[in-house]
């Protein structure tokens, strides 16, 4: 993202790109999906050794920027490893966790010995009920979690009777938790439904106090924008390359005016997506209060325009873009799914209206 720390971010980006093209190119995402394979724990450990899984545990400024750059590279290969979610969990544990929780989880998380993910529980959308009981906390309901059936620990969001949000670290294979693998739109995001049928969790599994909010959702939202940006930029590059070589009616496709104009509009959406995403990530990195508005602007913009780019990429490929074998639909799937999670366009526009119209009306 923004690079005030010299060439460090450029180095992070280059390293990420090289590592992913070597160990986790898009072909791997496709193969793993078609084989319905489980996560490659060796790859996960390698990501750990690169420092990718606990970038946010030491503080935000450099970590958030680095993770933003990595998120773009993950998007560019439609990576199927839950790197972003793992970082959200490790950050939450580092900031809110008890000494026991930090001892138990942080080091193995960092090393990639543990897989940790979290649901994307939006405050008005939480489907899990939590009730404090004599020997712990009882959970009832369902959540959908990335790699929920494979993770070693899952940070779930639940609601108490009084409406406060309580988050809990649920170890895998907790009695009463039933995981069902789901079919995903996005080849690289594998979800499972976790059903909690009166599951009792230890009080020590509660993360922080009910109502604690360290801005995880906002952070995840900005990082998802960075991921979509990376995917859209790569899809565009692939499409532009095709437009330079594909010949129809004796001319390369890229010489037709309508194609040139289409590619220009796509470039505008891409460059603007980059500008709004960078602004949101930078604001979050330095703790600027404008991050609240900027993240909503980024998600609202990218959720609308990145799909436009991806859909046009399919269109410009013609019928070959409609084949399973061509990679372009993997990008489409990632970008469309990202637009629908962590608040879609409408949800963020509602939030923006609340912010800016109140501001406007306040002016005498």
């Amino acid at each position: 993202m923004g690079d005030p720390i010299g060439g460090e971010l450029a180095l992070v980006r280059r390293t990420a790109r090289r590592f992913l093209s070597d160990r986790a190119p898009i072909a791997r995402t496709r193969n793993e999906y078609e084989a319905d394979a489980l996560m490659d724990r060796e790859l996960w450990r390698e990501m750990g050794s690169l420092g990718w899984l606990t970038l946010l545990a030491d503080g935000d400024e450099i970590g958030i920027r680095a993770l933003g750059a990595i998120a773009e590279e993950l998007g560019a290969v439609v990576c199927d490893q839950p790197v972003l979610m793992a970082n959200i969990v490790s950050r939450a544990v580092a900031r809110l966790g008890s000494a026991d929780q930090r001892d138990l989880y942080l080091t193995p998380l960092a090393a990639g010995e543990l897989i940790a993910t979290t649901d994307l529980g939006a405050a008005d959308d939480v489907a899990l009920e939590a009730t404090p009981i004599a020997n712990g906390i009882r959970l009832r309901g369902e959540v959908i979690v990335e790699r929920g059936d494979e993770a070693d620990v899952i940070l779930v969001t639940s609601k108490l009777a009084d409406g406060r949000i309580a988050r809990l670290l649920v170890p895998a294979r907790t009695a009463g938790v039933c995981a069902t693998r789901l079919s995903p739109l996005d080849f690289g995001r594998r979800y499972a439904r976790l059903s909690f049928d009166d599951v009792t969790l230890d009080p020590g599994d509660l993360l922080g106090d009910p109502g604690d909010d360290e801005g995880d959702m906002r952070l995840a939202t900005a990082l998802i924008c960075a991921e979509s940006l990376g995917a859209a930029a790569k899809a565009f590059d692939i499409t532009l390359a095709y437009m330079r070589t594909r010949v129809v009616f004796g001319r390369i496709l890229g010489s037709y005016q309508v194609i040139k104009h289409r590619l220009t509009d796509m470039s505008l959406w891409l460059e603007t997506s980059r500008a709004v995403t960078e602004a949101a990530v930078d604001a979050l990195a330095v703790g600027d209060p404008a991050a609240v508005e900027l993240t909503r602007v980024a998600k609202a913009y990218v959720s609308e325009k990145a799909p436009f780019v991806a859909r046009d990429c399919v269109q410009l490929h013609g019928s070959i873009g409609f084949t399973w074998e061509h990679d372009i639909h993997l990008y489409l799937r990632r970008i469309e799914a990202n637009a629908l999670i962590l608040g879609d366009v409408d949800e963020h526009l509602r939030g923006i209206a609340d912010l800016v119209m109140a501001r406007a009306e306040a002016v005498p």
């Binding site: 040139k260 104009h261 220009t264 470039s267 709004v276 602007v297 409408d346």
Partner: protein, 418 residues
């Protein structure tokens, strides 16, 4: 021009801020939209513009990078940037002379003879002379090089006949840069000569153009047997396209500079007020419209900052500048469309002398020019795809054909074949 030390620049900035406080306080940039300029009744505005330009020049703030021998201060770009930054919070009355000072003056410096530069540049910088560029013609459209204003040599004078259009404030100008065709037997780019034209000559008739929103911000000029001395050729005979290209490049760079100096492009207060007036400020659809304009405003602001920076440091090629015009034009139009939608019935009919009530309809109509003027959106897209993406240029039917053999506007009923 020598480089400046940090301390010199800081001292310059401090002195400038002091001068602005003393002399420019009434001109702090106002909130809200800039009222449209009218082509008629401009005399007072131009008199004020010339007066302030003279003040700027006397204080050493006009022509900062222009060589001293031609009336400037001969300082480096750095000082110009300081001025741009400090001045960005103001709207000087001399903004009416922006084209004159920043485009025409710079074209003369780049392409004019020593005599022309000596005679005119100082006077341009001081506001004594107001200059105009006469590029657009009614028949030309986006095809600037297809101009048909004729210049014929008669002794030591050229005689010009033709029409120019979409000029701002022609009635207030003293001189103009006027491209005309001096050779019809060669391809269009090769037969153009740029002339300095005295706008007060007989032989120039200026008429205001009435726009779809009722305003008259521009003029059309009719040149009839206009005599121009041969010494008024800028550059070389038939070498005028180089000068025109140079002018466009100067214009492009200057508007890029203005964009960076400018503050944020506004907010949604007006739209919110319109919604409230219509009792729709709690309406979900209306709130979504307003929020979407806010997103577009922020997005444009952030895009401008990013692209400007990236072009300056070489990350993106200069062709990416076209995205800024596309983004700005889309924003201007969308905001006006949303205002119209929110105003609803109130934009269909309003009390006759209520300027505020007229705003939604007027600004909507006025906004239609955003995607046409200054290089249409279609041209911007052609340019971007060719310069930034490196895609093949448009096929042109007239590139290498003698101009007098090229197809012009068809008269109804005639066959399309030449």
């Amino acid at each position: 021009m020598t480089g400046a030390s940090d301390r010199q620049v800081m001292e310059y900035a401090a002195a400038l801020r002091e001068w602005l406080r003393e002399h420019a306080a009434p001109y702090r940039r106002p909130e809200g939209p800039i009222p449209p300029r009218s082509a008629t009744g401009e005399d007072a505005a131009f008199a004020e513009a010339r007066r302030f330009q003279a003040e700027l020049h006397a204080a050493g703030y006009a022509g900062i990078t222009v060589p001293r021998e031609y009336g400037g201060q001969g300082l480096s770009e750095e000082y110009q940037r300081v001025f741009d930054r400090e001045a960005s919070g103001y709207r000087f009355p001399s903004y009416l002379l922006d084209v004159s000072v920043n485009i025409c003056g710079q074209v003369l410096l780049a392409y004019g003879s020593d005599e022309q530069k000596t005679r005119h540049v100082r006077r341009i910088l001081s506001g004594e002379e107001v200059w105009l560029q006469l590029l657009s013609e009614p028949s030309g459209g986006s095809d600037l090089a297809a101009l048909v204003t004729r210049a014929t040599l008669d002794g030591d004078q050229y005689v010009l006949n033709g029409e120019k259009t979409w000029s701002t404030s022609a009635a207030s100008a003293d001189f103009a840069l006027c491209p005309a065709r001096t050779d019809w037997t060669v391809p269009k780019h090769q037969g153009i000569t740029v002339f300095i034209v005295d706008m007060r000559s007989p032989g120039i008739e200026i008429r205001p153009i009435k726009q779809i929103d009722g305003e008259m911000e521009f003029c059309q000029e009719y040149l009839t047997d206009l005599s121009v001395p041969a010494a008024n050729v800028v550059g070389t005979l038939n070498g005028g396209w180089t000068v025109v290209r140079g002018l466009l490049e100067i214009e492009h760079r200057w508007s890029g500079r203005r964009t960076t100096g400018r503050r944020a492009p506004g907010d949604v207060r007006w739209l919110t007020a319109l919604a409230a007036q219509a009792g729709r400020d709690t309406d979900v659809a209306a709130r979504k419209l307003i929020a979407s304009v806010h997103v577009q405003l922020r997005a444009h602001e952030l895009l401008t900052a990013r692209v400007t920076r990236a072009i300056a440091n070489g990350e993106l090629n200069a062709g990416y500048g076209a995205l800024l015009k596309l983004s700005n034009d889309a924003l201007v139009q969308r905001r006006a469309e949303v205002a119209l939608a929110l105003a609803g019935a109130r934009a269909v009919a309003w009390a006759p002398d209520d300027a505020e009530a007229a705003r939604p309809a007027r600004s909507f109509l006025n906004s239609r020019s955003a995607s046409i003027a200054g290089g249409s959106s279609e041209i911007q897209r052609n340019n971007f795809s060719e310069r930034a993406l490196g895609l093949p240029r448009e096929a042109a039917a007239d590139r290498d054909i003698p101009f007098d053999e090229v197809l012009h506007d068809l008269v109804r009923g005639e066959d399309a074949r030449a």
